[in-house]
Symmetry: C2
Subunit: 257 residues, 2 copies
């Protein structure tokens, strides 16, 4: 119906979410509509959810094949949605299956190149989560020493903290640098050296994000934009990386030993 649509905007979000999960808008609408009314006929559904009645039959059929609703063979046909828990399980199973199928092939054609990068590459990563991932990745490859610095406590995720302590336990010299007490406190009672002093004006910048140095061959630098978005550059195993590391460490008092 006409005004069922815009009365609730969270419905729009739910619809969009369902579409991103692989349903068409009609399928999403019918599924939602059926949950509204518990169970009902094609007409019932079309009245609460703005899908032409004549379309409900086909849509419901596809939903039945997916296991998202059940059909009562009567006249008129009645439909009944499965519980939300069941639906979630169905969608999750399907997702995992598709993911396995997709990545199984990627694994077979994947090139070994990862690991021994001889190229002079500096990569850019956008988005906090992606930077988190790359950070952990670089940290876990460290064998001898790690320098981790950030001004913002929220950039020390649990996974990063865990990786740092795990590396420290493995014999890696870990140094956490921050002028923010909240960051230092997180590593206070751990086998990790924390330093307050910073390379002066450089890291004092308002937009600085994190610094990650692993051994002499991997480095990551990130900045935080005005809207809170984080962007990082990183390099691993490249001449570029080692030079950059030396430059950074020569320019300040981060001499650890």
């Amino acid at each position: 119906m006409t005004d069922d649509e815009d009365e609730n905007e969270s419905e729009g979000e739910a619809l969009a979410a369902f579409e991103r999960l692989g349903l068409t808008t009609y399928e999403a609408k019918v599924f939602i509509g059926l949950h509204r009314i518990g169970s009902g006929t094609a007409r019932d559904v079309s009245q609460v959810v703005d899908v032409p009645r004549s379309q409900v039959y086909g849509v419901a059929e596809r939903l039945e094949e997916r296991g998202l609703l059940e059909v009562q063979q009567s006249n008129p046909i009645r439909y009944r949605p499965v519980s939300t828990d069941e639906a979630r399980e169905l969608l999750r199973d399907r997702f995992e299956r598709e993911q396995d199928r997709a990545f199984e092939y990627v694994e077979t054609v994947k090139r070994e190149s990862t690991g021994e990068e001889t190229q002079e590459d500096i990569w850019t990563v956008r988005g906090r989560d992606q930077v988190d991932d790359r950070t952990v990745d670089i940290l876990s490859q460290a064998d001898e020493r790690i320098v981790f610095g950030t001004r913002l406590p929220e950039l020390v995720t649990d996974t990063i903290e865990r990786t740092l302590t795990e590396r420290a336990a493995a014999g890696v010299t870990v140094v956490v640098v921050s002028r923010t007490p909240a960051v230092r406190d997180r590593f206070a009672d751990l086998d990790v050296v924390t330093v307050e002093n910073l390379p002066a004006q450089r890291t004092d910048d308002q937009r600085s994000g994190r610094i990650v140095i692993a051994d002499d061959d991997s480095i990551l630098l990130s900045v935080v934009g005005n809207e809170g978005s984080e962007t990082a550059i990183w390099s691993s195993g490249s001449l570029f990386a080692s030079v950059l590391i030396q430059l950074l460490e020569a320019s300040d008092e981060l001499q650890l030993e």
Copy 2:
């Protein structure tokens, strides 16, 4: 390129799987192509994977926003895919997020109706997995007694077995009926009554699937089609259900007490 496409059909499946995961074919192709070559420019990608070079830039941009690849700001621009593990995590996170968003709304508009169905409804369920789900659902609602019967051992999934024993432990009288020893053996050492005798010709049918009776108000009957596909009808809390149950139990020697 023209012949890169059909040389490997499993690539086609992987592409389709990626599309069902929400990527466009171009996005899937670029992602796969980048994993083939480790890293490379738009031209490199377009040469191994049949995407016009001019399209690679935009596609890669969208992939970067999703965190599936990283960009090297140089001339020419170089691209690098994230590891398959990272990609899987990203997609999984996204999936869970979307699912939460979608079902959160459904929960709010869901009608309470489930549970106390006063309507005379018989529902149809197609597909083995869906029948499994409904079976478990009905079994777990039993308070006093359960009759579960099947000729086919593969229709006794682990979850079903677990639910049966769990209900038995909760004080429910559980009777498993089967002429197939393999089925009876599964419950041999459990606190469950197993019966060999069957209601004669009725259940002897080649196409019979399972029988589930829970208390006096829920029943499920399934048949197995020629191609192995299973279809079930079930009813819960309806007059129809109780009548059907009485009919079934009166017609044979399933008098338990």
